[in-house]
């Protein structure tokens, strides 16, 4: 054998390693881990919602998530792709959608919503990472526009194990939408109530005074979507996400500022017409949206500046739709509108490249200061 090792000798060597570029190590983070942490952060608020609204809410939650998982697997099978249920993204989509639905909504709402979210909102574009709009919000808006009555029927909290809470068997009837949905338990949310009363010419303070007790309560004992009422728990989950580095402060802070600033100004100018900033921030899906929905990686900008613009846009639009629009809650619309603007924002908010100016031209070299003499 020649003393020179050439590729001709390769037969004698063990199998060649598969070609791979550096780096040869990895930080260890995976998509599934990201999704798991978000779910962990959502868990307290979700459990609170389960307790507050009882078995029908639990049923709806299960149905919605089941629909999402089914739809995801169905689409992937249709496309001949391998299953990606393991990454948890479809589960999370279903989870977020369920949290944004009226807690006692019938099962078909959850089914249809899950189907819309996954098929129309996500798989049509190619699945995880390819969608242009937040799938859960696509489904919520589609449902809201199509079934406005069902989607705005808020149930008065009836905590599990309390006297009037429906048992598991009753809950199945509610979920299956047997007609016996007693009128007494539905009520308006703060945003909806104030909007309808305003339209009738009644000022906000009067409307709040005359409305039911469950309109507004910062501890979360209020009407609202399944997952949005436990505001403090939502906030805690959001802070956990911030602390664990899954999300960063830019989007949530900008969303909340975008809601709070115009609310402050509006309320100061005309308290009879506009709700206060506190009421805006603690009602509806403001916190849930700011921490969990607007921060969706796929549909939000990548750079800090872009994220601030994006978040602030969501906040402002939410406030505008809530205050002047035709719908009582604007978070879902605002998120989708800013989702649509995300490519434009990304395009105009690129980070500055080292050694270049923001417009992409190279920096001028700094003159060499050699006057001191060696």
């Amino acid at each position: 054998m020649s003393p020179v090792p050439t590729s001709a000798d390769d037969g004698a060597l063990p199998a060649l390693p598969t070609l791979a570029a550096s780096p040869h190590a990895h930080g260890g983070m995976s998509v599934a881990q990201v999704m798991q942490r978000v779910m962990l952060a959502l868990a307290p608020a979700t459990l609170f919602g389960f307790w507050l609204f009882g078995w029908p809410a639990i049923n709806l939650f299960a149905v919605t998530i089941g629909a999402c998982l089914l739809a995801e697997r169905f689409c992937e099978r249709l496309m001949g792709r391998t299953s990606s249920l393991g990454d948890g993204s479809a589960l999370l989509t279903g989870w977020l959608l369920a949290l944004s639905l009226p807690p006692w909504a019938p099962a078909w709402i959850g089914l249809l919503g899950g189907f819309i979210a996954i098929v129309v909102g996500k798989q049509v574009f190619g699945g995880l990472g390819q969608n242009l709009f937040n799938p859960a919000m696509v489904a919520r808006v589609a449902l809201l526009v199509s079934f406005p009555v069902v989607m705005t029927q808020w149930v008065v909290p009836q905590p599990l194990f309390s006297a009037d809470a429906p048992g598991f068997i009753d809950s199945l009837r509610i979920t299956a939408e047997a007609p016996a949905h007693p009128d007494a338990v539905t009520s308006a949310s703060l945003l909806g109530h104030s909007k309808t009363e305003l339209a009738r010419g009644i000022t906000i303070p009067e409307a709040l005074a005359s409305g039911p007790q469950t309109l507004f309560d910062w501890t979360g004992l209020r009407t609202g979507s399944l997952g949005e009422t436990g505001t403090l728990l939502v906030l805690a989950g959001g802070l956990y996400l911030l602390a664990s580095g899954i999300i960063r402060w830019h989007i949530p802070a900008a969303v909340l500022a975008g809601i709070a600033l115009p609310a402050l100004v509006g309320h100061a100018a005309d308290p009879a017409r506009y709700l206060s900033a506190t009421q805006h921030l603690l009602s509806g899906a403001a916190l849930l949206g700011a921490f969990f929905i607007a921060t969706d990686y796929v549909t939000s900008p990548n750079t800090p500046a872009g994220q601030l613009i994006f978040g602030f846009g969501i906040g402002i639009l939410t406030w505008i739709i809530r205050s002047w629009g035709g719908y009582p809650e604007g978070m879902a619309f605002a998120v989708l509108l800013m989702n649509a603007l995300t490519p434009v924002i990304d395009r105009y908010c690129r980070p500055r490249i080292l050694g270049r100016r923001r417009d992409g031209r190279a920096l001028e070299p700094t003159p060499i200061d050699n006057t001191g003499g060696a």
Binding site: A25, Y297, I353, G355, G373
Partner: protein
């Protein structure tokens, strides 16, 4: 956007760049340097540096001594190769390159006589009194290249000091790559030589000051260097935070001088020069002792290795021999890597030689490599945050995946330093660096094609010009001949007419 900039700049600039990979430098960094005896065969690639390959000046069968030049530099940017030990040249030909491509490269094969006899060498007496050019020439003759891994001929960089005025010479002792600790050991054990090299380089470049940047995770090296620096007022040891890629020259320059090197320019353009501490030590050896670069320190590390540690290795030693000396590998390593885990090159096998730019050999186990199948990008933006240059790796990758290379260039592909931070953090495990390497390679190939096309066009034009000229000349010649014939005929006619009139028919 100037207004928005003003608002957002403070918010965005505070974003830290880079990553904090698991260091894994211990226990290798705590073991003293061991010297590897000469192996039976050494393979000396002719192209161990950036630039033109060296040209062999030895014949097969020729006996050489340690330190004797076996291949000389060819062209301005090149470096010679020296015999790392004494022995006999047995082959000059292609060998498998220490490169993931599995292609071959030209190399000289040397059979060691196991005597390791130095050729007669002479250091330069009182080098600080000599002309800087002479120092640079000595460094060039010693075949010294950037030992941090860039392998740019050191003398060329020293020569830059005269063309653009150098204010600060930076010695890079940051060693930000995980696993590697050879610079750390060098600074701990041979601090005096490094400082001596720094002083020589300062003289050669005409720099006013020397700053040595060392990451704060190497307290012993900092202490040793501080002790050695005593007495040199213009040499300063600076502690920099441990963060990858602190050792990238642009990042280190910002950290140590606050100067941001403009894109498309060299550090020398702003009066800064960065050299590795290993290069400084090699320059000390070359000038004070006259020894060319024939060996270097490298770290052997990785879970699959029995005895991780730092070794002084002759250039040209087979990785196989090296691993055997270090106690061999446990089981089958998942990857053999030359260099650090973040930027190192995958080796096709252990039957390749180590080269001048090799700072370490890693035998990584499957758990360390943690290779997962890539998933779709979820646009999480981790890569954007990690990128030390401020690029958008996810956007560039999406464009490269769709073969839109020009769009990737518009996003700053050419500013990418290939540090690997983006791929290290990517939760979807997308091989971003490979995508960028691919695109850069393709673009370079396009560039070559374009040059070739231009040359072709010039040649085609020259040819058509030539054909035209030939046709013209032919036509002219034909016309001339026709005219001549005509004249001839006329003459003949005239002659015959004359003869007719002159002479009466017989």
């Amino acid at each position: 956007m100037g207004f928005l900039d003003k608002i957002f700049r403070p918010l965005t600039r505070s974003e830290p760049w880079g990553v904090h990979p698991d260091e894994r430098k211990r226990p290798a960094s705590e073991t003293p340097i061991r010297r590897l005896p000469p192996p039976p065969l050494l393979y000396l690639p002719l192209s161990q540096h950036v630039g033109a390959a060296a040209e062999p000046i030895v014949r097969i069968g020729q006996k050489v001594l340690k330190g004797e030049c076996v291949a000389t530099a060819k062209g301005n940017i090149s470096a010679p190769v020296h015999a790392p030990t004494s022995g006999e040249i047995v082959a000059i030909g292609p060998i498998t390159a220490p490169h993931p491509s599995r292609l071959e490269m030209m190399a000289i094969t040397l059979r060691s006589d196991m005597e390791d006899r130095w050729a007669p060498l002479e250091g330069l007496a009182d080098p600080l009194a000599r002309a800087p050019e002479e120092l640079a020439r000595r460094v060039a003759e010693a075949g010294i290249v950037g030992l941090g891994g860039a392998t740019f001929p050191a003398s060329v960089k020293l020569g830059l000091g005269h063309r653009s005025r150098i204010r600060t010479l930076i010695l890079n002792g940051s060693e930000c790559e995980p696993y590697l600790s050879c610079d750390d050991r060098l600074m701990r054990e041979r601090a005096g030589g490094v400082i001596r090299g720094a002083v020589l380089m300062r003289h050669a470049t005409g720099a006013r000051e020397v700053r040595i940047g060392i990451e704060d995770n190497k307290p012993e090296a900092i202490a040793a260097m501080r002790a050695a620096v005593d007495g040199h007022a213009d040499v300063q040891v600076c502690v920099v935070p441990a963060r990858y890629p602190m050792g990238s020259d642009r990042q280190l320059i910002i950290e140590l001088t606050g100067i941001e090197v403009p894109a498309e320019s060299r550090a020398a353009d702003v009066g800064v020069l960065v050299h590795n501490v290993g290069t400084a030590f090699a320059i000390h050896q070359a000038i004070d002792l006259g020894r060319p670069l024939v060996s270097r320190l490298m770290t052997l590390n990785g879970e699959a290795l029995a005895q991780p540690g730092n070794y002084e290795v002759l250039v040209g030693t087979l990785v196989e021999d090296l691993l055997a000396f270090a106690g061999g590998v446990r089981g089958e390593p998942a990857r053999l890597v030359m260099g650090g885990p973040m930027m190192g090159l995958l080796l096709p096998s252990a039957k390749v030689p180590v080269v001048k730019g090799c700072s370490g050999i890693l035998a990584l186990s499957a758990t360390e490599v943690a290779r997962d199948e890539p998933g779709p990008c979820i646009r999480c933006g981790s890569c954007t945050r990690a990128c030390p240059v401020g690029l958008l790796p996810l956007e560039m990758n999406a464009r490269i995946a769709n073969a839109a290379l020009d769009a990737a260039v518009a996003l700053g592909l050419h500013d990418c330093i290939g540090c690997g931070c983006c791929a290290w953090v990517c939760p979807s495990r997308i091989p971003l660096v490979q995508a960028f390497n691919h695109a850069k390679g393709e673009l370079a190939a396009h560039e070559r094609d374009k040059k070739r096309t231009d040359a072709t066009r010039r040649m085609a034009e020259a040819r058509s010009e030539r054909l035209e000229r030939e046709a013209r000349e032919k036509a002219e010649a034909a016309a001339r001949r026709a005219a001549e014939r005509k004249a001839q005929k006329a003459r003949e006619a005239a002659e015959s007419a004359a003869s007719n009139s002159e002479g009466a028919p017989a």
